[in-house]
């Protein structure tokens, strides 16, 4: 292991976390070396007072402010220096301040992901890195996806393939871009008839595929103890229907959003041991979903396991 990658490896890989019941999306440009394990617990609290019905933004006093809290344990580990695994299992709780609809809580989706570094080369005054990431998530409880907006998730398997590219200057600043295609399967409703631009005589609902793109600008500070980053995320479903006027959303909807995020990660010891992360994000445009703003706080602990 050369010196550079050891430094990098000693840092607990950060956790790009998406709201709106998406499984965790490992979009960052970090790798854990072989045998290092990082355990993280992240608490996220996001809420909205307006939502997009199609692209029309509306309020609904029968929901008032909608809040989604998530507690997500996560394990990231180095299988080799170039291949990492990521496992996550969020617990989600939803509630609304208005109306009489009951919120729900429970275990959401089990996320499994493999991330490989495929490019690592010096370039100019920095280095160019490339990663690819294959992710899979599946509902880990019998939560009902057809209970939107309260449902814990979209209730379908998701297979994601992501490419990540990062250019990092030796002085600390970096630019990162990632793109993912998310293939989603179907989810089961508890009714066997629904409307999706026409009648459907089945309880199976098709959850649209989506693309997820991110552009991030960040930098390392304090001798690589602190990382600060700003990012722009865009999410687009490939197809799907719009929420009908003053009606409930459903898993077949075409969900889109654009979001900005500020993120910081601090390693107390600059390597193994404890670290903290914090982030805030805000959606500024969207379709068929709540206009979430939220923050996340997390603790990380890294150790050499083998």
């Amino acid at each position: 292991m050369n010196f550079k990658s050891r430094i990098l490896g000693l840092l607990c890989a950060s956790l790009g976390i998406a709201t709106i019941s998406l499984a965790q999306t490992p979009t960052d440009g970090l790798m854990m070396p072989k045998g290092e394990i990082c355990i993280a617990v992240v608490y996220e609290n996001s809420s909205w007072g307006r939502y997009w019905e199609g692209t029309y933004s509306r309020e609904n006093a029968n929901i008032g402010t909608f809040t989604r809290q998530m507690l997500m344990p996560m394990v990231v580990g180095g299988i080799t220096d170039k291949i990492n695994f990521i496992v996550s299992l969020p617990y989600v709780k939803t509630a609304a301040t208005g109306g009489q609809m009951a919120g729900v809580e429970g275990i959401q989706d089990l996320g499994l992901s493999l991330k490989a570094q495929v490019v690592d080369k010096a370039l100019g005054k920095g280095k160019l890195m490339g990663f690819t990431n294959l992710s899979f998530s599946t509902p880990a409880s019998n939560y009902l996806s057809d209970y939107m907006p309260f449902s814990l998730g979209f209730g379908a398997n998701e297979l994601g393939l992501r490419a990540i590219g990062q250019y990092e200057l030796d002085k600390g600043p970096y630019l990162r871009a990632s793109f993912a295609y998310l293939h989603r399967g179907t989810t089961e409703a508890e009714r066997d008839f629904y409307y999706n631009d026409g009648a459907y005589y089945t309880s199976t609902m098709d959850v649209p595929d989506a693309i997820h793109g991110q552009l991030a600008l960040g930098s390392w500070f304090l001798n690589k103890k602190l990382r600060v980053e700003a990012s722009l995320t865009t999410f687009r479903c490939a197809n799907g229907d719009d929420i009908r006027v003053y009606n409930m959303p459903q898993p077949t909807n075409k969900v889109d959003f654009d979001r900005i995020e500020g993120f910081a990660q601090y390693y107390f010891t600059g390597g193994r041991g404890f670290g903290v992360i914090a982030y805030y994000n805000h959606m500024f445009s969207g379709r068929n979903m709540g206009q979430f703003s939220g923050f996340g706080l997390g603790m990380t602990y890294q150790f050499k396991a083998f």
Partner: protein
Amino acid sequence: MKKYFYLIITLLSSAFLLNACVEDLPTQYEYTGYEFADLDPNAGQWKLVIHTSNEQVAIPTPPQTGSSELNRELAEAKQKIAAATSAQRESVKYWTNNPLLRWNEIALELATKYNLIPAPNPDGTYPSPDPANPGKYPLFPYSHPPYTSRMLAYLSVAQYDGLIMAWHYKYKFKREAPYQLDPQIKTAYESNNLFSYPSDGAVIAISSREILTAMFPLEKEYLARMAEEHLESLILAGINVSSDVEAGKLIGAEVAKTALARASTDGMRNAQTNKAKSDSIKNAAKERFGWFWENQESPQRPVGLAPLFGKVRPWNIPNVEAVRVGPPPAPGSAEFNKDAEELKRFAANLTPEQRRIANFWNDGLNTYTPPGHWNRFAKEKTVAYRLSPVRTARIFAYMNMAIMDAGISCWDVKYYYHYPRPIQTIPGFKTILGTPNFPAYTSGHSTFSAAAAEVLSYFFPTDAAQFRKWAEEAALSRIYGGIHYRFDAEVGLEQGKNVGSYSVAKAKQDGID
């Protein structure tokens, strides 16, 4: 490096492939034309619902077998069949030889499409659909359960009377079907000895188009297109020639006219009241019983759903008083508290099976409503028992009359007792189903379902236990969902069964089931 690149390409393309493999989800009931268990040759004598004579609609005497006119029609049919496109052949398969079921399905789809509750205006008031200006938001109609029950009743009654007349003429004129007159014509369905003049399919196409266009005015073009396609399929299927179709169209148009004349004076136009009238109804209950229901939405809806639907003219019950149930227990009474406590228990600990039942029967906004749900059951049973079109129409007509009567009776009771919903009486109560915009007692689901089950049990006695179980489950689903007390559901079941028995008694007068 390169090999990773190929790996990425491979993985990406497999993800796309997976996507392509997602099976097509069913958008209609999968059935094909079938051999009828019985042709019901005497159906021309069955009791009409809104007509007095099976020759009330006159049709011309058909051209004789061997006549040049009929031969010309047969030649024309052969030409059309030979020139049929694959899309036209698909359409023949779609419509089948029992096309009433397809029109019923179209009706359910439109009921779903229009079952959206008006959103509030920015100033907190609510707009109402305007039949005189159906395209202005909120679109007309708002196809809520009473509306859908009535739409289905008129549709089914017109279809039924039309088919009774068609059957009468079929066996009067005894004209054989084109595929029997001309060996070069093959039927797309099972061959049988049903006479073809007039076309029963054309009766269904036109009566359905007319009723549904009146009920869903914005769908006029769509319905016209569907009817054209259906009429065309009758010739292409080899079961009708043009004179069959033309005679069927005459009957279809006339029976629809009679049905719509009844509909225009049945009181539905007054069912949705203004706030003053609505308040007077509420105050009457307050004075009589000491309680009242109020909408709990924000902003509050000033008028409940169709307060005077209980005054709409029923089909088979003599009047609403004859089937009106006794009062519910007063809020705060021991009996009330017992059922309210039960709701709190369910809300705290709903089993997966109870949740499934609540959602399976939800049939709320953006669905075909409980009347639609029972029409779906009837459709599936009809195919399972391979019923003839006229027998099918009979079942739908009696069931949908009973369902509409159940709605009328239920709405009479709802606004007579004006009983508050659980979210109004139990502080902080939360539900997993949306609470509808009308009083609790009695449960519409229970009343609709029990009435439908009663009629279906009469027509399909071997399945009676199943229908009653479904009705009970529909009733229970509202308790699990937190929007009805047990007494709403249980009394609603009794009420619906009672209402349904009036339709059964009327059907029995034919002595044929």
